[in-house]
């Protein structure tokens, strides 16, 4: 039983490390795809470099802090990416409704790719969160998000642009967070092991 548990523990550690690595790779791929999507959108809408969206973040999560535990960090990241996906899905729908054209081109393909890659990243961050013992609750809920978007078309375009930039931002954040995870996991595991050893010795 102990051996099995040990094996299970070992397997769990391995799974976490592999998942982190995979999630990081997906995030990096997503960041690349996001940059292409932003480029295509700027080109499509003739947005030059001076067209900037500098308003506050659309995604609302607790401010990141180095004091947070891994589970909380993962929770924040996962929550932010979940919101990003909600925004992205809404943006795609609104854009199709209001500004959809006759033909589907590179932009539409890239947009779909980013959305799917983001979903894939979410699966991986979800797994990591589960491994870390976190709770997969979206805060705030989907209903709380301002997903309607503007009605004026130019503002809608800026809103879509903001969402793409938001995805880009949180993808970069995800990469940073995930890259920092293996050492944290190792430390925590070491600490957990020490605690258990102490307890065993006491018994």
């Amino acid at each position: 039983m102990a051996a099995r548990r040990t094996r299970g523990m070992t397997g769990g550690s391995d799974l976490s490390r592999a998942t982190v690595a995979r999630a990081t790779a997906i995030a990096e791929l997503l960041r690349y795809e996001c940059s292409i999507l932003l480029e295509l959108y700027r080109k499509k809408e003739s947005f030059t470099a001076d067209v900037t969206v500098t308003e506050s973040r659309l995604v609302s999560v607790p401010p990141p802090s180095s004091q947070l535990e891994t589970r909380d960090k993962l929770w924040c990241l996962h929550s932010a990416l979940l919101q990003c996906r909600s925004f992205l899905e809404r943006a795609i729908t609104k854009e199709e409704e209001q500004l959809g054209g006759g033909k589907k081109g590179d932009y539409e393909t890239q947009r779909k790719m980013v959305k799917e890659r983001l979903s894939l990243l979410l699966i991986n961050t979800g797994e990591l969160l589960k491994t870390a013992g976190g709770v997969m609750i979206l805060t705030p809920s989907s209903e709380g998000l301002e997903l309607d978007g503007p009605t004026i078309l130019f503002e809608l375009k800026l809103w879509v642009y903001r969402i793409f930039e938001e995805v880009d931002y949180w993808t970069k954040t995800a990469i940073t967070t995930l890259q920092a995870l293996p050492s944290v996991i190792a430390k925590e595991r070491a600490r957990t092991t020490r605690v258990r050893s102490t307890r065993s010795a006491r018994r």
């Binding site: 030059t48 067209v51 054209g101 375009k157």
Partner: protein
């Protein structure tokens, strides 16, 4: 205000009361007018922000003309100020005027005021009504108008940007273009985009930045087209409902909510694939008349279609196809999807496939024709059998050539993809007296062989074109051909056509027609524009095909693909252009003629249009020397070819030069002849004028009887007159003898007894040193000077000794020798006359030129003889040159002769020494010989 000016000088007696009354009257009229023109009241503004329409209504009383003024409130700039005619709405009692603003009405506040007008009279302005813009200070936001506008291609749209309170305006960009702007108010700036082009699918962004580019706002504009559906047609498949189809001729560039909405008979259509060009919409019941209305934000378009349902049946495929196959027949069974098909008259087509079953039909006979070259070679050709004609897979063809007369038969098998076989009938033609050979083609499939299809090949080919070639004119449906039908003919016809430029084994197409046809329209997918086709009509009977009629035509005439070969030559002063015919293949149309141009710079000037195709040369006349470029262009009904240009430099005509030289020479010769003739005719005058006879010396006393020494005394009355001419030239001074008879001719009788009166003239004569023909004058003069006893008359004195030669009278010369004999008689006298021969010195020129002989007679003479030394020599040059000759001037001669006494031999010697004098001598002789 009406004004009345009163001049002090006018009507001083006018009553001031009258003036005041007029003034008051006018004032009253003016006041009355003001009473009638009520000031507009209750001005109400109603704005449609999307359409930018502003509706202004007011109570204006009875007035029908109003002045409307619209200003931008903040800057007090006039936007609109016009006099308009507005009638009162009888129901509401209000006047109403609509105005459309160029700028969106949100851009800035507008002030509107109205006044009534009657001619030049106006009311006061109404109270100003303000339509508030979005640039009020209370509305601090960064804004742009109009938003989400949809405009047609080519439209002009004005956008305005209201800068956020506290920011400064930067730029407005339309797409990627920075626009020029105008200020409408403190915060509002406008720009107008003209002749807008299609926007992107998501519209074109109009972005407004602040000056620091920290903030922006914008608008989207969609530029597209109104709908334009075409090819609207409705059909039925189930004989109940209608399925209507149409196409969109162009992309409107407007999609989704801005895309085109269609309605069919006022029922909305839901398109299954809105992005497809081919649209389809159904209605449950066939209504006979269908109206399609296409609407988008830029306009609408409607199409109609009407038809009976039976005329628009689009059959569906049979369902549940089953077969009942027997050994020799099969039964095909099927069902219709719609029951209504049972009452529909349908033609059913059953195709037999050979999958697992053997077809039983033999092929149809192929359609056979032939092509013959001019040397008994040719081709037997046939058309490929269609699938229906084949009745299965064709396995091959069997071709037989057969001539019954020479008992010749040759059969060959060919593969199924063979449709032409070459034939060589040379041998048969030499052996057979018959005119034809029969070619038979049989198609084979698995089921058997087809009926033989035959064609008779003529053996006696003629090169003669028996018929005139008509032109076939292509129409939309092909080449329509017509011919006369011979009532006796019962034969069928074959019409063949091929490219006229082809000469050998040509790919020919044909169509066979039954007897009795008199027209056909030739159609083929192979007909090419710009290609001339020969079209021939043959009779098809038991004999060899006989050519009945011949046409040529083009499916479409084009301009010639090549130009003529042009050459230029100069003929005399003309330029002859000659060119060759364009090859048939390159003509690409029936040539109608040639245009000849002369090109000056880049411009072509038409010289001539030659519609006669046979004349392929043209002469350009009347050109001056220089370089010329000529262009010749052939033209068809489609136009001219590119033309060929040839240059030529027109050279001066060399024959003319030769002619001119010859003519000049001829004229000179003629002139010479005329001069000669005149001289001949007037030789007497000429002689008198230029070569007068020297008068014979007159001797006083009887010389003949006395043989002794003569006591010559100069005549006391010998006179020598020196006559000077004003034009005398010292370099050519001569003294010319004026003959006595000339001097006194006709005036006075010549008194030969009187001492001769001599006049000496200075006259220009030939300078040539002509030597004396007769005995040298110097000799004679020297000799005569020696003689003191001779009575000498001076008959001629010249400064040049040569002048003395002009002793022209031969008679005189012969006579002149007589005195010489006489004179010799008195040679013994001490101071008397000495014969010239005796006093001859060894040197002709110098020896006798000694001055002494002159002195002797001077001393000896009693004074009647005037010595020559006393003469004045005007020309020392001549004197110097001639040396002793000069001294002989004035040499006395014998009275019996004007010639000097020199022997002939001397004369000849002199002539030889002076050849240049021969011409003058000849001329002198000529004149002398002609003396009568």
């Amino acid at each position: 205000m009406p004004r009345l000016s009163v001049s002090p000088s006018s009507k001083p007696n006018c009553s001031p009361v009258w003036l005041i009354s007029v003034l008051l009257g006018l004032l009253a009229i003016h006041t009355n007018a003001k009473d009638v023109l009520t000031v507009p009241q209750q001005v109400i503004l109603s704005a449609n922000m999307y359409t930018q329409h502003l509706t202004i209504s007011w109570l204006g009383g009875a007035a029908t003309t109003f002045d409307l003024m619209i200003l931008r409130t903040e800057l007090n700039e006039t936007v609109f100020y016009e006099t308009v005619s507005v009638t009162m709405n009888q129901v509401s009692g209000r006047h109403q005027w609509n105005w459309t603003s160029v700028e969106p009405l949100e851009c800035t506040s507008l002030s509107i005021k109205i006044r009534s007008r009657d001619g030049q009279t106006t009311s006061e302005w109404s109270n100003t009504q303000i339509l508030q813009g979005s640039d009020l200070p209370s509305n601090e936001k960064f804004q742009m108008y109009p938003q989400d506008r949809i405009v047609p291609v080519g439209a002009n749209t004005t956008f305005c940007c209201i800068v956020e309170e506290g920011l400064l305006f930067g730029t407005i960009r339309y797409g990627n273009t920075v626009m020029n702007t105008t200020r409408l108010s403190r915060r509002s700036f406008a720009t107008t985009v003209v002749n807008q082009e299609l926007s992107g699918e998501t519209g074109t962004n109009v972005v407004c930045f602040d000056n620091l580019r920290t903030k922006l706002t914008g608008a989207v504009v969609f530029v597209g087209y109104p709908p334009l559906p075409t090819d609207f047609v409705c059909e039925t498949r189930d004989l109940t409902s209608a399925v209507c189809q149409w196409k969109e001729q162009r992309d409107t560039n407007l999609y989704r909510k801005r895309g085109t909405r269609y309605s069919l008979n006022k029922r909305n259509c839901t398109l299954s694939s809105p992005e497809e060009k081919q649209k389809e919409c159904s209605v449950a019941q066939w209504e006979g008349n269908f109206t399609l209305v296409a609407v988008n934000p830029l306009g609408q378009y409607s199409l109609t279609d009407s038809a009976e349902i039976n005329h628009r049946v689009h059959p569906v495929a049979p369902d549940n196809l089953t077969f009942v196959v027997h050994a020799w027949n099969a039964t095909v069974l099927w069902q219709w999807e719609y029951k209504s098909y049972s009452s529909l008259a349908l033609d059913c087509q059953v195709e037999l496939a050979s999958q697992g079953y053997k077809t039983r039909g033999v092929p149809d006979a192929p359609d056979v024709w032939m092509w013959m070259n001019k040397d008994y070679t040719g081709q037997v050709i046939w058309k490929p059998l269609t699938q229906r004609q084949s009745h299965g897979l064709i396995t091959g063809y069997e071709v037989t050539l057969w001539s019954p007369e020479v008992n010749f038969q040759h059969t060959e098998l060919f593969s199924p993809d063979t449709y032409a076989v070459p034939v060589n009938l040379t041998q048969i033609a030499t052996r057979s007296s018959d005119n034809k050979v029969m070619a038979t083609v049989i198609a084979k499939n698995a089921a058997g062989v087809s009926q033989p299809a035959s064609v008779l090949i003529p053996l006696r080919l003629t090169d003669v074109e028996p018929f005139t070639v008509s032109r076939a004119v292509y129409t939309d449906r092909g080449f329509p051909l017509f011919w006369q039908r011979n009532p006796n003919d019962t034969c069928a016809y074959v019409v063949e056509w091929y490219e006229a430029s082809c000469k050998w084994d040509c790919p020919v197409e044909w169509i066979k027609l039954a007897a009795g046809n008199t027209n056909v329209t030739i159609k083929s997918a192979n007909l090419q524009p710009g290609v001339r086709y020969n079209i021939s009509l043959y009779s098809s009977s038991s004999e060899a095909p006989e050519l009945l009629q011949h046409w040529q035509g083009y499916m479409q005439e084009l301009v010639p693909s090549s130009s003529v070969l042009l050459s230029t030559t100069q003929h005399d002063s003309d330029i002859v252009l000659t060119w060759r015919e364009i090859p048939l293949v390159n003509r690409r149309g029936f040539l109608l003629g040639y245009n000849i141009y002369i090109s000056g710079g880049s411009q072509l000037t038409l010289l001539a249009n030659l519609s006669d195709l046979e004349s392929r040369s043209y002469t350009v006349k009347g050109l001056s020397q220089g370089l010329y470029n000529f262009t010749v262009k052939a033209y068809t009904s489609a136009g001219e070819d590119k033309g060929t240009t040839a240059s030529i430099t027109l050279e001066p005509y060399t024959d003319w030069l030769i002619l001119e030289i010859l003519a000049s020479l001829g004229i000179i010769a003629l002139l010479l002849a005329v001069v000669t003739f005149i001289c001949y005719k007037k030789r007497k005058w000429v002689k008198k004028a230029f070569y007068p006879d020297i008068p014979e010396p007159k001797l006083s006393g009887d010389w003949s009887r006395s043989q002794g020494p003569l006591n010559v005394k100069p005549s006391p009355h010998s006179l020598v007159h020196m006559v000077e001419k004003p034009e005398w030239d010292s370099s050519k001074e001569v003294l010319v003898v004026i003959p006595e008879e000339d001097e006194f001719e006709g005036d006075e009788p010549v008194d030969t007894d009187e001492p001769t009166s001599l006049r000496y003239y200075n006259q220009v004569v030939d300078e040539r040193p002509i030597r004396p023909r007769f005995p040298d004058s110097s000799d004679s003069s020297a000799s005569s000077l020696d003689s003191a006893c001779t009575d000498v008359t001076y008959t001629g004195i010249q400064t040049s000794g040569s002048s003395l030669v002009f002793q022209l009278d031969p008679q005189g010369s012969s006579e002149g020798q007589q005195p010489q004999a006489d004179l010799s008689v008195c040679g013994g006298g001490g101071g008397g006359y000495r014969p010239q021969m005796q006093s001859r010195a060894p040197s002709d020129d110098i020896g006798l030129a000694s001055p002494e002989p002159f002195l002797e007679p001077q001393a000896a003479s009693a004074g009647g003889y005037k010595p020559q030394s006393s003469w004045h020599f005007d020309s020392p040059v001549d004197a110097g040159e001639s040396g002793g000759l000069a001294l002989s001037l004035g040499s006395p001669t014998s009275v019996a002769s004007t010639q000097f006494l020199l022997p002939d031999g001397e004369e000849r010697a002199e002539e030889q020494r002076q050849p240049s004098s021969s011409a003058a001598t000849w001329f002198t002789n000529l004149l002398s010989s002609t003396k009568p």
